[in-house]
């Protein structure tokens, strides 16, 4: 291992992390032509990417690693920068993608080539978004990941999937345009899109450009991530997607967006005055504080707005989740609430709160991916993701129930599980920063979240099965007024669609992996390690401001 730290491999690692998943997009097609099954090739490729994403953790690696494909440098060319923040998030994205692909859906068995090609595109976009140090590229990567995701959401090809995909695509496309507007303003003010140089020049730019760019970038990211004023698409967008795709959306994509938001916040807008208890939306709003400078009133006003967004995300997310009768929608609303937690952490400022936000982003990604697999298993055995249909499911498969309990404990924040630690720090730190609204909302959020997870767990362990015991492909009983007869839906299915139970063994394996992840993250030692890593990343980010 000697010399690995400064070998050519390590120097080019940022480029490889984008290039390897991208090269598998055409490679899968050619490999299949010569007889290699797409699924095997894809899993091997994802394993390779997972391995690459752990390389920066090798002893003796000096961060940040900067790579500039073509050797043009950041000003004329492209710079990919692997810093502590990227190192922390890369394995989360890779592991999330790998496990989701391992699980797959019955549709991924029907059309494995299309499915895995799209997953690799999404992977490329997510990794690139995390690594890029250039706004132009960031926009391209956002859209690469986005378009792959929209196609995956509609992968089932039925009415529900299409409705989801169209809503999601509309929301994300408008979010993309907001980000583009922010980029235009940054370019107008600075004449460059290379983040370090733009940040330097933004310091002297007219405040109206800075504030405008910050607000537009932040709202674009918030729209794509589904924070409260712009959350309406999210549950609909996830409800029609296959479980594995919903997991991809809630895990890797949200993580990459959060990582990008941090890069914008600290890299472009120079962070914000930490110790004064200022606060933020996702990306840039508070970034402008640094430049708007002494305008204390503006800062207070924006800080108030930010906490309104975060707190209303938490409250609305949990309350709406409580009202849902279908599991995927419930989980989607719960994701909105958890994004709210993270924004409170970023907004409260300071190393500890930021570290807790990072840790919470990671635990949320894993636990939500895990819950979507439980949901996928229930959908496989019961034919629907309705909560009422879960009756008796955990009694038949206790390992599934155990996994569900573990993931729920972590998401609700019950002590031995991973979610507790980050929540605890978030509550303490936001209270320290004087953000009592955030502290109370996070604490109350757990109380709101407990009933809706408990409801599923209790229902799952009840004896007996639901009355409609035979799995139906799509529950068209949802709204009788709908002009969508079941026969028409059945006609939509391609001939010889695989039966429900073909993913069984794989699903079991995927959940087992996640259970292990939950145990590792949940154990105090593992959690402590994760938190201390997050803390050093947070210190680095905050330190770059002062």
């Amino acid at each position: 291992m000697a010399g690995l730290g400064d070998s050519l491999l390590m120097q080019q690692l940022p480029s490889l992390l984008v290039a390897v998943p991208l090269s598998f997009v055409p490679l899968l097609y050619f490999l299949e032509k010569v007889g290699v099954p797409a699924r095997g090739a894809a899993l091997a490729g994802m394993g390779l990417c997972l391995l690459l994403s752990f390389l920066p953790w090798v002893e003796g690696t000096e961060l940040p690693i900067s790579a500039s494909p073509g050797g043009w440098g950041g000003l004329l060319g492209i710079e990919l920068l692997l810093d502590g923040r990227a190192r922390l998030f890369l394995p989360v994205i890779s592991a999330g993608v790998f496990v989701s692909a391992l699980f797959g859906t019955r549709w991924s068995q029907r059309w494995p080539l299309s499915f895995y090609t799209l997953v690799f595109l999404l992977f490329t976009g997510a990794n690139g978004l995390l690594l890029t140090n250039d706004l132009f590229n960031a926009f391209v990567f956002v859209e690469i990941a986005g378009i792959a995701t929209h196609a995956l959401v509609a992968f089932r090809g039925d009415g529900d999937g299409l409705e989801s995909a169209f809503k999601y695509l509309m929301a994300a496309a408008v979010g993309g345009i907001l980000i583009l507007w922010g980029i235009v303003l940054v370019f107008t003010a600075t004449g460059t899109l290379w983040i370090p140089l733009a940040a330097e020049r933004l310091a002297d730019a007219p405040p109206v450009f800075v504030a405008g760019a910050a607000v537009l970038l932040a709202s674009g990211i918030a729209l794509k991530g589904g924070l409260v004023p712009m959350h309406a698409w999210k549950a609909d967008g996830l409800a029609g997607a296959p479980s594995a795709v919903a997991a991809l959306l809630s895990g890797p994509i949200l993580t990459a967006l959060f990582g990008f938001g941090l890069r914008i916040l600290y890299g472009l807008f120079g962070g914000f005055p930490v110790m004064e208890g200022a606060s933020a939306v996702t990306g840039g709003v508070e970034g402008s504080f640094g430049v708007l400078g002494s305008a204390g009133e503006v800062r207070e006003l924006l800080r108030g707005m930010v906490f309104v967004v975060a707190v209303s995300s938490i409250v609305a997310g949990h309350v709406m989740a409580l009202a849902q009768s279908r599991m995927k929608r419930m989980l989607a609303y719960s994701s909105i609430a958890h994004m709210g937690y993270i924004v409170v952490g970023v907004g409260a400022g300071g190393e500890a709160a930021l570290a807790a936000a990072l840790t919470h982003a990671i635990t949320h990604a894993f636990m939500k991916v895990g819950w979507f697999f439980v949901c996928g298993e229930l959908r496989r055995t019961r034919g629907t993701d309705r909560i009422a249909a879960a009756r008796g499911a955990f009694r038949e498969a206790p390992w599934l129930g155990g996994a569900a309990i573990l993931f729920s404990m972590s998401l609700v924040g019950i002590p031995p599980a991973a979610g507790f630690g980050s929540k605890w720090v978030l509550v303490l730190e936001s209270a320290n920063a004087g953000a009592w609204g955030g502290a109370v909302a996070i604490a109350a959020g757990g109380a709101l979240a407990l009933p809706y997870y408990l409801r599923i767990v209790v229902r799952g362990f009840e004896p007996g099965r639901p009355r409609a015991a035979t799995p139906v492909p799509w529950d068209s009983s949802e709204s009788p007024s709908c002009p969508e007869p079941a026969a028409e839906l059945a006609a939509e299915l391609p001939e010889g669609a695989p039966p429900h139970d073909t993913t069984g063994a794989l699903g079991v394996r995927a959940v087992a992996i996640l259970v292990c992840a939950a145990l590792i993250l949940g154990g105090f030692a593992g959690y402590g390690l994760l938190f201390s890593e997050a803390f050093s990343v947070a210190t680095e980010l905050v330190g770059s401001v002062l």
Partner: protein, 112 residues
Amino acid sequence: MGAIIMTTVLGLTGIAIYGLLTRRHLIRLVICFNVLEIAVLLAIVYAGFVEGGQAPIVGGAEAAYVSALPHAVALTAIVIAASSTALMLAYVVRIYRTRGSVRIERVRRWRG
């Protein structure tokens, strides 16, 4: 010049946002998205505008030359918008086939 372009940009943005919020026809939503995109493209190209500027070709420019970056961004954004639009229209066609309408109130099954 600048005033005319910025007025056009803002006007187009206003029309598009109004349309996105009020129209119930899926194809019209797609068109509104495209109008919004065109407004941004106009703004991007204008951001790189230099009075009397020349193309940034090595050895060719004597006067002030124009940065090629906004044009590259605009071209990329056009490609991305085109693929998003293609995807949206494909969904609209499929939605029409499965649900028999392209009006939001007849198509949507979920709310809340």
